[in-house]
Amino acid sequence: MKKQEKYNSVPVKPDEITPKHIYQNRRTFLKQMGVVGLGALLASCAPGVTSTPSTSETLSDITPSGIGSELENQLTSKEAIKGYNNYYEFTTNKERVAELAQDFVTEPWSVNVDGLVENPGTYSTEDLLSNFEQEQRIYRMRCVEAWSMVIPWVGFPLHKLLEEVKPTSEAKYVMFESALVPEQMDGANSGMFPFPYTEGLRLDEAMHDLTILATGIYDEPLAPQNGAPIRLVVPWKYGFKSIKSIIKISLVVDEPPTLWNIVAPQEYGFYANVNPNVDHPRWSQATERRIGESGRIDTLFMNGYAEEVMPLYEGLDLTENF
């Protein structure tokens, strides 16, 4: 806790927090986005910078949204984001997911959007990349296991897709389903979990501007271990809500079944909002370990997004609806 106070009051040079090579990497990334210097303030008066030609490994045309720019000096290293993953379809060992997922085939890929919508459709990754402006969003990611990261996502708000398919007035929830390819996923046949992984949001949560479908991290397309080619990111909820490698999005009437809620309903609720005041039955959620730093920091209510998302939960008992 002391550490956090220090964090807020003492100005820290970015290179003190982030390893230098990553920090420099980020510079390149920012340059590519056409941003000179740090922060959106400077960006507004920056001259038009020609972006470097993109390779297949690098994303181009990323619009800096400015959302999360205050977290820029806390970014978790690319190595950690790509090397420390929960993706139980591959393995429960976080540091082995990257290796086991490296040959996961994500091309071609299509996402079915159906259910209570006026314009159901099938979207390829290319459709999603070209139909919707890709913007950068720097979000905190808080895992229910009490560790966290700060991740510079690239993607677009889910509401843009939903506006295109037009949910009918009956639609109350959005259900998501992950790909399940047992031939390519070592952990999928273990019988340990009732795969496919499914998740869900209330329609208003799904329509919230902070909810995005991510297609990249830093300046790269998503790696398989991070949920390639397309995943959900809901920054005010525990990480398990941010379902990976989505193949299906359905608009439905009833609260959809969600994987962790099926497995252990007493521990993982449908809402799963980050809440330091509501503990997990087996451990406290008051603090968290930020990957790449030592010690613990206080967990923020709604992961720091309370101002934006609390209107969604007016009159809802957050302890009961955990």
Partner: protein, 220 residues
């Protein structure tokens, strides 16, 4: 004379093996720490490792008595104490990492965790028992305590059961439906169960008869 000498040598070598071997995991952990090889969440990794070593040594220490009683290999009994001491050592390290490295000695949070979460309470009680057993394991104290000492040492069974439950509860998933990666804690639980069964007098007698009668018939 030669038989006694041979036995002495075996005891000596077994002792050396355990007393050196017990430090190896700690050495590896230390090297990994200083060479930044504990992964992206070194605290979690160190917690997991020390916890597993504590379980391992505790189970190993509980194998000595059945081996002695059933297989009549008497030398292993000298290993019970050092193996138990290493179990206590790794349990102590496990808690030290939790309290100092992870929670930065924030006693309010640590205390809250200990009293609020059954999962943590179980670990704390296990450590307490192991620490008391380690502290009273010296011969002087043993002699002073007499019969009470034997009774006290029996609490190791409670520690072992609580330790395994603590281990099972550390897994993300659902214990009742066994949904989750319970492989290692279940292996440990099975080992403990077998070791308990091997302490039932009837089982000991039957197994002994089975093993040694056969030997005798073969010799004939």
């Amino acid at each position: 004379m030669t038989g006694r000498k041979k036995r002495f040598n075996t005891v000596k070598w077994l002792r050396i093996l355990v007393n050196v071997g017990g430090w190896v995991p700690l050495l590896i952990l230390t090297i990994k720490y200083f060479t930044n090889n504990l992964g992206f969440d070194p605290i979690q990794s160190a917690l997991l490792r020390t916890g597993r070593y504590a379980v391992l040594f505790l189970i190993l220490s509980l194998t000595c008595t059945p081996i002695r009683k059933i297989l009549k290999i008497y030398v292993v009994s000298v290993l019970r104490k050092p193996l138990g001491m290493f179990a206590a050592l790794y349990a102590g390290l496990h808690f030290a990492i939790y309290a100092i490295w992870d929670f930065q000695l924030n006693f309010k949070l640590i205390w809250q965790a200990i009293i609020e979460f059954p999962f943590i309470i179980l670990g704390a009680i296990t450590l307490l028992i192991l620490a008391i057993l380690a502290a009273t394991s010296f011969q002087k104290i043993q002699r002073k305590m007499g019969k009470k000492w034997d009774l006290l040492q029996r609490t190791v069974y409670i520690a072992a059961v609580l330790d395994i439950i603590h281990y099972l509860l550390a897994i993300k998933g659902d214990l009742l439906s066994l949904q989750g990666n319970y492989t290692w804690p279940l292996i440990a639980a099975s080992a403990l169960l077998i070791l308990f069964i091997l302490r039932i007098p009837w089982v000991i007698r039957t197994l002994k008869n089975l093993i040694f009668l056969r030997k005798e018939t073969r010799q004939r």
